[in-house]
């Protein structure tokens, strides 16, 4: 039997189809007004998850860039200090003054040069006590404690202290300061290993230990003098500023008139040893600040990489979330057209029946 099509039956089907056409129109309008490809998780669960993942990464990358800038500035500061120490103080003042004192000047000049060297030692300490932000740069992981200060030994001589500990005495506490670290996330995949400890290659250590740069402890120095005699000087400080300090003290204690050394027996050997250490110290300083420079360069390159990553993530997010206006508007026009066509049919559908034609 042929299925009977009733007026109401047609209307019901028409209504249902009109509703779905209208719903489509509504969905596409929403896309065009919000400018988004999807407006809920349900519309596209996979895309929504990915989009949030990208957003998280972007947020963290931008924070890492901020971290990077901070670290770069700190290292920049540190580098400037070390350069100042090496060039102005180390070479220009101390080395030069010492040379002069050795060879050129006599008499009262020696004391003056000694004072210059001592002054350089003071200036070095001040430079090394620079701060970046609220914290000392060269204090390792103890940024609130001043790195270098002057103390006195048992004889009343001035000695250099690193965080309150004499730099010339090797103690376990002093050596422990060399292992201090402060790790910062610069986007190198900061993660912990199975033991719950941070994997050191996955983060950047920003701790700069002044002690490591200048050296510590003492050592013996053996040399052959101009008479061909083997001489050994013991307890020569390894620390560069300690060397400045001692060298300067020796010259400053020279007779202001004759320029004779206070201890003519031991002082020359001492001076010889100290001069050797000075050069060693300056070389070590130089090596350290080249290392620092390399690290700073790494941070800068890394930052460029992070900035590139940030841009890529931004692009990906836009690609994923934002509509292509041309596409969306075309779809919208088509949906509107379909809906209008459906409406037009409606008026024809419901108008005529046999009753209208009966007289």
């Amino acid at each position: 039997m042929v299925r009977r099509v009733t007026t109401n039956g047609m209307m019901m089907s028409y209504k249902a189809n009109l509703m779905s056409s209208y719903k489509m129109l509504g969905q596409i309008s929403e896309k065009v007004t919000t400018q988004r490809n999807f407006n809920s998780y349900a519309e596209s669960p996979a895309k929504a998850s990915q989009a949030f993942q990208l957003r998280r990464e972007r947020w963290n990358t931008e924070t890492q860039i901020t971290n990077s800038k901070y670290v770069t500035h700190k290292f920049q500061q540190a580098w400037n200090c070390m350069e100042n120490l090496y060039q102005d103080l180390g070479n220009s003042k101390v080395k030069y003054s010492d040379l002069l004192a050795q060879n050129g000047t006599q008499g009262s000049g020696r004391k003056a040069l000694g004072d210059v060297i001592l002054g350089a030692a003071d200036a070095a300490v001040q430079t090394l006590n620079s701060k970046f932000g609220e914290r000392f740069i060269f204090s390792g992981a103890d940024g609130d404690t001043v790195p270098f200060s002057w103390g006195e030994n048992a004889n009343g001589d001035r000695i250099l202290l690193y965080r309150g500990m004499p730099v010339d005495e090797v103690t376990p506490e002093l050596e422990a300061t060399l292992k201090e670290t402060t790790y910062v996330d610069l986007g190198m995949g900061m993660a912990e290993g199975n033991n719950g400890q941070l994997i050191s290659s996955s983060a950047f250590n920003t701790a700069i230990t002044g002690l490591d740069i200048l050296g510590y402890g003492t050592s013996d120095y053996t040399y052959t003098d101009k008479d061909g005699n083997q001489k050994t000087v013991t307890d020569v400080p390894n620390n560069l500023v300690s060397v400045f300090n001692e060298l300067g003290s020796i010259w400053a204690q020279a007779d202001p008139d004759s320029g004779a050394l206070a201890d003519p027996v031991n002082d020359p050997a001492r001076i010889e040893a100290l001069e050797h250490k000075l050069q060693e110290g300056l070389d070590q300083l130089h090596e350290r600040y080249v290392t620092l420079d390399t690290q700073a360069a790494f941070v800068k390159t890394n930052q460029t990489r992070l900035e590139g990553l940030d841009d890529t993530l931004n692009e990906q997010i836009v690609d994923m979330e934002d509509i292509d206006p041309a596409d969306a508007i075309t779809s919208l026009m088509w949906a509107q057209y379909s809906y209008n066509a459906a409406l037009r049919i409606g008026t024809n559908l419901l108008s005529q029946s046999l009753i209208d034609y009966m007289n």
């Binding site: 957003r55 402060t182 790790y183």
Partner: protein, 637 residues
């Protein structure tokens, strides 16, 4: 031999014409009724039943040679055109449609809470952004600012915003639960109204049938239809509408049978049962059931029975009774309008308690499931009553999933900020060997006093246990700056604070940040989320206590949303399928029982013509008889 001839009755033609006129007039009335009711919801088109009248049987003057002619049309009644099979199919589909519709509406409500797409500043989400912001604050603190009070405050404020969002979401979920429960109660109440309505209609229809259309068993067996008093047709339409509505709520089986009313007469009886369970009778003729929620004895978490005062009692009969938390239904014994219970021995004479899965579709079952299903947090008991319980996720599942996230988050942060006496890497702060309870070494007292839980389940306290999304908050001590994020848990990063005083306290190196770095990695690490992490929130043994997801905090939030979205998507697809089928069946039903204007217009024309023809017959007969009566035998008058 004389050929026999049939006799004629003089006036039988008039009867014939009169019957013809009446039939046409009646038919016009029926057509008019159909046309007026074209838009009446649930109206089934009616048709006039006509039979040719044949006066038969032996009569005094009958002759076997008589030519028998019919004597006109008899209108025997008005019938409805309805296909009961289509009704059954339609009601099944509609049951499924409303099951998925009920489920979808709750899922959409949940999506309104959880879905963060397009929300938040710059579309970065809400809790998503909260977690990312907390990470940012930790990063800022970690880069050269560990141990500084103002950065600790910044982290704390960010954490506070985040936990307030957890509280907000949990609050909204509670509200949804309450609203859905109310919705369920309203539906059950509606169901009761419908059952009462059907029962009363059954009574009216029965009365009408007895008055006008009761048939003998033979007539019934012949399958005669249409022998009904016409008022019952409208009542049947009403009843069908109610049954359709009932089918939306629960899945039903509708049966028509014969009920004897004495003297060998039968009337039709309607019986409605649940399709999942034949002893669960909802309506039987004039008797109907009342639906309510089952009452179960109150128990505590261990399964002991409790009385009204909360004391444990041994006998369940002494316990206080509360509404079943699983919302199982209870059908009362069937009663009629006056409250009389159906006779003993008949089905429905005793109350019936429905089991968990006796309802297989319909919006009531959908709401029940959305109110009770725990998905991966289902207990063994729940799986025993519904084998697929662990794959069904209702509001309680989402509440627990959010609780799991809040709890894991708090756990990681709280553990990071406390010294664990059982961990050899951390218990250096305690007197060795470590006692129970552990004693802090004097030199570390101040530092250890700074450590402690950062998140608590009590607003005025520091309790790290029993944290859920609704009670998570910043611990009291952190809020009052007595506790802060400790910088390090490494003994090598400690120093004596005043080197000149050998008795001074020890503290961390001022820039030490290893614990803060740990928190940063912790926010991006994947954790195992196990169902038994929420053991205290579940009533009974877990079906699968193991891990159901491994991911970071952000990942867990995404997971919840993905699960919700997939559920919603698949429910929508099923709903659309069933809706299309139901739509088709509705149109099919309408094609059988709906009024079509073209049809009725044809009928109008047809009956008008037959009316005119019958009138013309009358006129012709009148003329004929006039000739006979007045024009015959007047010759010669």
């Amino acid at each position: 031999m004389i050929e026999p001839m049939s006799t004629i009755s003089t006036f039988s033609g008039f009867t014939m014409a009169r019957l013809g006129i009446m039939a046409s007039q009646k038919a016009m009335e029926v057509t008019g009724n159909n046309i007026s009711n074209i838009n009446t919801p649930g109206y089934t088109r009616q048709r006039l039943e006509q039979k040719a009248l044949y006066v038969g049987g032996a009569d005094r003057y009958a002759s076997q040679f008589d030519v028998r002619v019919g004597s006109g049309a008899l209108t025997t009644g008005v019938s409805q055109l309805r296909d009961p099979y289509l009704d059954i199919r339609y009601r099944n589909e509609v049951s499924n449609v409303h099951y998925y519709d009920g489920k979808l509406s709750v899922l959409e409500d949940l999506a309104l809470i959880f879905d963060e797409v397009g929300k938040g500043t710059d579309d970065n989400g809400v809790i998503e952004a909260g977690l990312s912001d907390l990470l940012e604050q930790l990063q800022n603190m970690n880069t050269e600012h560990a141990g500084t009070a103002e950065f600790d405050s910044a982290v704390r404020e960010s954490a506070k915003s985040l936990v307030e969002w957890f509280n907000e979401y949990a609050g909204q979920l509670d509200e949804r639960l309450a609203t859905t429960e109310k919705n369920l109660q309203e539906k059950v109440s509606r169901m009761n109204n419908i059952l009462h309505g059907i029962r009363e209609l059954n009574e009216s229809i029965k009365k009408a049938e007895i008055a006008n259309g009761a048939m003998t068993e033979d007539e019934r067996r012949q399958g005669l239809i249409g022998e009904r008093g016409s008022q019952a047709l409208e009542l049947r339409d009403e009843r069908n509408k109610l049954i359709d509505e009932l089918a939306e709520l629960v899945d039903i089986d509708v049966k028509y049978s014969d009920e004897p009313i004495g003297s060998g007469m039968y009337v039709e009886k309607l019986t409605i049962t649940l399709s999942g369970r034949t002893d669960a009778v909802l309506v039987d003729g004039v008797y109907g059931a009342d639906v309510s929620f089952q009452k179960v004895p109150k128990t505590n978490a261990n399964g002991d029975f409790l009385d009204e005062n909360g004391n444990i009692v041994a006998d369940p009969a002494d316990a206080a009774y509360i509404d079943d938390p699983a919302y199982k239904l209870h059908l009362s014994a069937l009663t009629d309008m006056r409250g009389e219970v159906i006779g003993p021995g008949r089905k429905g004479s005793t109350p019936v308690d429905l089991n968990e899965m006796d309802l297989t579709s319909g919006s009531i079952q959908a709401l029940r499931e959305m109110l009770t299903r725990n998905g991966e947090f289902s207990t063994q008991a729940e799986v025993n009553s519904d084998p697929r319980a662990s794959t069904k996720r209702g509001i309680p599942y989402y509440q627990k999933a959010l609780d799991a996230l809040a709890r894991q988050f708090a756990k990681v942060f709280n553990e990071a900020n406390t010294f664990d006496p059982n961990n050899p890497d951390e218990n250096w702060v305690y007197e060795q060997p470590v006692t129970d309870p552990p004693v802090v070494q004097d030199k570390y007292k101040d530092y250890v006093a700074q450590s402690g839980p950062l998140f608590s389940s009590e607003a005025d306290g520091d309790n790290p246990d029993g944290i859920t999304a609704s009670n998570i908050c910043i611990s009291n001590k952190w809020a009052h700056r007595e506790v802060s994020i400790i910088q390090t848990k490494k003994e090598s990063e400690m120093k004596q604070l005043d080197p000149n005083d050998p008795n001074s306290q020890w503290g961390p190196l001022s820039s030490a940040n290893s614990n803060v770095a740990h928190l940063i990695t912790a926010m991006q690490t994947d954790y195992d989320y196990r169902a038994d992490d929420l053991g205290d929130l579940v009533n009974g043994t877990l079906f699968k206590p193991g891990s159901y997801f491994k991911g970071s905090f952000h990942g867990m939030l995404t997971y919840i949303n993905e699960v919700l979205a997939e559920d919603g998507k698949s429910t929508l697809e099923k709903l659309e399928n069933y809706s299309a089928a139901a739509q088709d069946l509705a149109v099919s039903r309408d094609s059988v029982s709906g009024v079509d204007l073209n049809d009725e217009a044809m009928n109008l024309m047809q009956y008008q013509k037959s009316y005119s023809a019958a009138c013309r017959l009358m006129t012709t007969l009148d003329e004929l008889l006039d000739k006979l009566i007045n024009g015959t035998g007047i010759a010669g008058r």
